[in-house]
Symmetry: C2
Subunit: 337 residues, 2 copies
């Protein structure tokens, strides 16, 4: 089993900002796993928030390459070994997990979603509106609606939140997800949520600092919208701790390590009565495709990373009127342009 | 997708008894799922303890046959539909789940364990010694050891327990699992466990009535052996409730509905820190094979149903020195004799 990788540079259509940072381009890593004439692909989209950089991911990939053994079908054995050894670098492991699934599915001649016993995904994704001034917000909302999106996610967590939501709701009446990215203070988060109630959020993501579970649990008592954990929930152990703290979790492959870890988290979340959302970081279609493969299992889909790019180097995902689907072809369903 | 079924009669080598019942033959149901020239097999081993009979299972199979749709790959959709409609008849659903997995794996040309990303099972099963008089117990233990078994499970829950264990331990020094099948009274269960400590049990299964969770949790405080829930744990919802009540769970496909439900239970049990065991009822190799396919994931394996038969109508599972393995062939690895 041969593992190689290279960086790819992604240009965003618009500068994208949250309450924490802003970007207009992003580098990710493309992983190629080759064995017996078949190549499987994966993407590593590291996030500093979880101690991951391009460099740390590449170091982890070098280590992972030596732990793959000689049978890519042995997902359970391989991924346990990688997680035991490179636990802090789960963005890199997610890239390998994707490449393994792509390889197996191509080898067997089925789409990844079919390999997993799932139905072909046909899911409505939210389009994310980043933090921006009034004019830019108006433009972005108009663009999203013109492009056919029927669910929006708005980044909040600044003092302009009410103005932003006023603009959004003036143009849009559908499902509206809010994401504070840890941006609110526990002292006034409750007041903010009550103020936002008039804009009928379908869900509020990570209102407080990720380690402030006590106040998170208090916010849940306010009957405005379900509270979801994003930064507070990296992996399966966190899901158990978040029972009775939040109403749902946002699973991202960069945080958990890929398809197999995500399926475990979904099983545990469902058993504990938690809602489930699938999210992403800025990335190409290559990182979106494996998440989309399991998206029929979740409540909210926020897989728009590749849609924010001016040019997707891994085309294959169809998105019409905000509904994303994967093709009925072998593997992940995306390939290098 | 065409589903048919017929009964098969199984003769046991010895009369088999627990603290609750005795049998010397057993009828199960063989399920055949045929689609596009490929046939997948499954076995239904109903248990009255869970409201299942041959008749109720056959009624459920008639209903399931109409809910299969036209794509056996759609495991998630199909099994949700069956569980929604025939929730009380999960032995029947386990038979269909097995037949679907066998069909998919044969169609793709891989063993079921490889389809699931797991390694080829090579696991030590316990051989079960039923409730019997002193001479018969001695004979059964000698036979088990002569056949190479290196782990035993002994049925307890009668007033002869100490005499039985004295006989077993006189001949055998290895891992010894005890199963009371709800047979003990909460008033003296603690005393019994302390008395049994001298026989070094590796685990004690279901000491009390299945709904007596309060006393079960108390027994866990006695530091003799981990307490496992069997009759108390049918499905994934029970796993969540059993956290802090027992140390582990016994998963049986007859109780939960098959491979897919079992994998969910394992994910949840692991997340909650619970041990996991795989068990069975009297059945042929056809019901053992799908459980064995996932047995590399668990702590204790008690998959000896087919080994208790005078003649297994579904050969294919190898058992040497108590180590069970499945072949590297497409599908479940067993086929009609």
């Amino acid at each position: 089993v041969k593992l190689t990788w290279h960086r790819q540079n992604l240009r965003l259509r618009h500068r994208f900002a949250t309450s924490q940072y802003g970007v207009d381009e992003k580098e990710t890593i493309v992983v190629e796993l080759e064995h017996e004439g078949v190549t499987g692909y994966g993407e590593v989209a590291p996030s500093r928030l979880y101690g991951q950089t391009l460099e740390s991911s590449e170091a982890a990939l070098s280590g992972c390459a030596r732990l793959l053994g000689d049978d890519p079908f042995a997902l359970d054995t391989i991924l346990r070994r990688l997680l035991d050894t490179w636990d802090g670098q789960r963005a890199a492991i997610a890239g390998v997990d994707s490449a393994l699934h792509d390889w197996i599915a191509k080898r067997l001649g089925v789409p990844v979603w079919r390999l997993l016993g799932l139905k072909r995904p046909s899911v409505m994704t939210t389009m994310t509106i980043g933090v921006a001034d009034a004019d830019e917000t108006r433009t972005k909302v108009d663009e999203a609606l013109a492009a056919g999106f029927r669910a929006l996610k708005v980044k909040v967590g600044t003092d302009d939140d009410l103005r932003t939501l006023e603009i959004v709701r003036a143009a849009f009446n559908g499902p509206l997800l809010l994401d504070a990215n840890q941006g609110w203070d526990p002292a006034d988060a409750a007041r903010r949520i009550r103020e936002l109630a008039q804009y009928r959020p379908a869900m509020i993501e990570q209102p407080l600092r990720r380690d402030d579970w006590r106040h998170l649990a208090e916010l849940r008592e306010i009957d405005v919208a379900p509270i979801y954990a994003d930064e507070s929930c990296e992996r399966v152990a966190d899901v158990v701790k978040l029972k009775d703290v939040v109403d749902g979790i946002n699973i991202k492959f960069t945080k958990c390590g890929g398809i197999r870890a995500a399926l475990e988290m979904i099983a545990v979340a469902r058993a504990l009565g938690l809602g489930v959302m699938l999210g992403c970081f800025a990335c190409s279609g290559l990182a979106i495709a494996p998440a989309l493969a399991i998206a029929s299992l979740v409540d909210f889909v926020d897989l728009d990373g590749h849609l924010l790019l001016s040019d997707d180097p891994f085309p294959g995902i169809a998105c019409r009127e905000g509904i994303e689907t994967l093709p009925d072809t072998a593997g992940l369903g995306v390939r290098p342009a």
